[in-house]
């Protein structure tokens, strides 16, 4: 996968020299940051043997809650409320999956529909404008040469990697995903940790939603359509197993880079967005096929 990324970058760079410009690198990394944050949460869900279909709609819910609370109470309160709204939606997902034992696919599918409905209800279907201009910094500002959304995504990668590889919770995530029965028998509190998985995913969606709200400097109830599918695509293109147990944050990073560079590069070399969809579709299936083929050989 790293080889693919290098090839993509070299090809796009030779077709349009602007691809390598500092502004475009900042640009592409900033565009990827939302997908990156969503995909981090999705990685937890998929590694644990589940899936989180709700993350796209959560962007809309978080955006609306964040904007409304920001208008009511202020900047920090709005940001906090947005992130926690994501976490709370994740907690509901977790409760339904772990306690009520509804399959993750169904539980989060329900949340996908319902969260969009809550976003539309809270906002009356209209965008929420008039947010403080300082908030724009979170979406468009820079830390040195690096866009702030990019830095947040990088911080998210480090944090997620540490949780998955260095904590007991992280190891339990893999254990549940490889063999849930074995995890139960070895004394892991599967229900509790499953719940935590979806809270983590919701919180990442919360951060992503707040950053996206800052990028569009308004609360938007229509944000994030089909983003959940792209986040799943990023995880599996990276090489994590869709049924769980195998994979990691590094692979998700690869998947996000492939999707992000592909989207931006194809725009820069003026490939039709219709054709772009065809390319991305083929890459999703192709990447998983290559991984499976390699596994079978071993």
């Amino acid at each position: 996968m790293p080889a693919v990324i290098v090839i993509l970058a070299v090809v796009f760079g030779s077709l349009n020299p602007n691809f390598w410009s500092g502004t475009n690198m900042a640009n592409v990394s900033r565009q990827m940051s939302i997908l990156a944050l969503l995909s981090l949460g999705q990685t937890f869900a998929i590694l644990s043997g589940g899936i989180d279909l709700s993350v796209g709609s959560l962007l809309a819910l978080v955006s609306v809650v964040c904007a409304q609370q920001m208008l009511n109470f202020g900047l920090v309160e709005g940001i906090t409320a947005g992130i926690l709204a994501g976490g709370l939606a994740g907690l509901i997902n977790g409760l339904v999956i772990a306690k009520a034992r509804v399959p993750a696919f169904i539980a989060t599918l329900g949340m996908l529909v319902a969260a969009r409905g809550v976003a539309l209800t809270l906002s009356g279907g209209l965008p929420i404008a008039g947010l403080p201009r300082e908030f724009l910094v979170l979406g468009a500002g820079y830390l040195g040469p690096f866009p702030i959304p990019t830095m947040l995504a990088v911080a998210g990668f480090v944090l997620a990697h540490v949780i998955l590889s260095r904590t007991r919770f992280g190891r339990y995530v893999y254990a549940m995903g490889s063999n849930e029965e074995a995890a139960v028998l070895s004394g892991i509190n599967v229900a509790r940790h499953k719940m935590m998985v979806y809270v983590v995913s919701g919180l990442f969606a919360g951060v992503a939603g707040v950053v996206l709200t800052a990028r569009v400097i308004s609360g938007q109830p229509t944000l994030g359509e089909v983003q959940e599918l792209y986040s799943i695509a990023a995880v599996v293109i990276g090489g994590s197993r869709i049924t769980g147990g195998v994979g990691g944050i590094g692979r998700t990073l690869m998947g996000v880079l492939v999707l992000g560079i592909l989207g931006n590069g194809l725009n820069l070399v003026q490939v039709s967005s219709y054709v772009q969809n065809i390319v991305i579709g083929i890459i999703i299936v192709g990447a998983v096929y290559v991984d499976l083929a390699r596994e079978r050989r071993q």
Binding site: L136, R215, S218, Y274
Partner: protein, 359 residues
Amino acid sequence: MKRLDRRCGALISLAAVVMLGCGRGTQPSNEVAPGTAAAPSAETGATTAPVTEYARPPKPSRQYRIGIAVPHLSNPHYVGQAYGYLDEAQNLGAQVTLLEAGGYQYLDKQVSQIEDLVASKVDAIILAAVSGPGTVGAVQDAVAAGIPVINVNVMTDSDKVVTRIRSDDDVIGRMHADFMGERLNGAGSIVMLRGAPGTSWAEIRGNAFKKRLAEKFPNIKILGEQYSQSTPADGLRLMEDFLQTYPEINGVYNGADTTAIGAAQAILAAGKQGKTVITATDFQVDTEKFIREGVISASVLQQTVTMGRWGVRAAINYLEKRPVPPVLLTAQELATKENVNGLNLENVRAPAGWTPPAR
């Protein structure tokens, strides 16, 4: 692990507390002014004498690269506009990159497209915004990078644009109201399909319609109004539901003809054609057909091709350091069954069979 769990618990209770807080914040949703309404309508008040002619400038010495972002190209309205952009760019020797977001709901995509245009260092950007408030940041970034932004048709709330080129949406709303009021003889029960939330056209037209109706025809009751992503499917679904709720409906306002086409199908299915006044905006082929059949009663034609042409002209003028007026209003005209044969559609639609380059 214990510690982590405890932290998780704390987090959960915090989340619950905040959600309770959110509950308090729910009710003012409709009071939060969608900034779109404020910015462009204030500016309409300023333009007492709209510029209705905007001549083609001389062909510039160099080939300019212009990036254009529109909401989508599945509505003939934007296809007409795209024709205007591309044909005029050809006249003026400019190279055009035309991008569509794929629908009013894909704000994130349009923002990325604007950023990509900035990164590929086009000379100017022409923007028909999917959302007024949502595009402020992206427009600011483009202007900060030294790329002028020409705003066409659907307004961004950013005040950094070179010029705003659009129909007079206030006038369009009033034309709807006058036609509706006269056709209903001043009394009736109507519903509104406003269009895409957060767009200048849905806001300004709808508000002007309501204001005029209240002033001139106080006996016409508005039973309900709905926003949607403004596709025929949305119009059909919303109208079917309205007919279930209010069987007495005898008028339907449509901010765009996309929803009018769907609404007309719902009216046909209910057998209420001819008994329900349907007003629309724009003039795609299906709208014309429904007007000829008397299902859609009237439509306000916008000069979509002209909008596109003027957008490119304004961009070239600005790049050639010529002054550009801050607002350019294109003309509009009412089409009914009576005048449908005499309309000049040259600036209303793309030539039959023309399709935009796939983007």
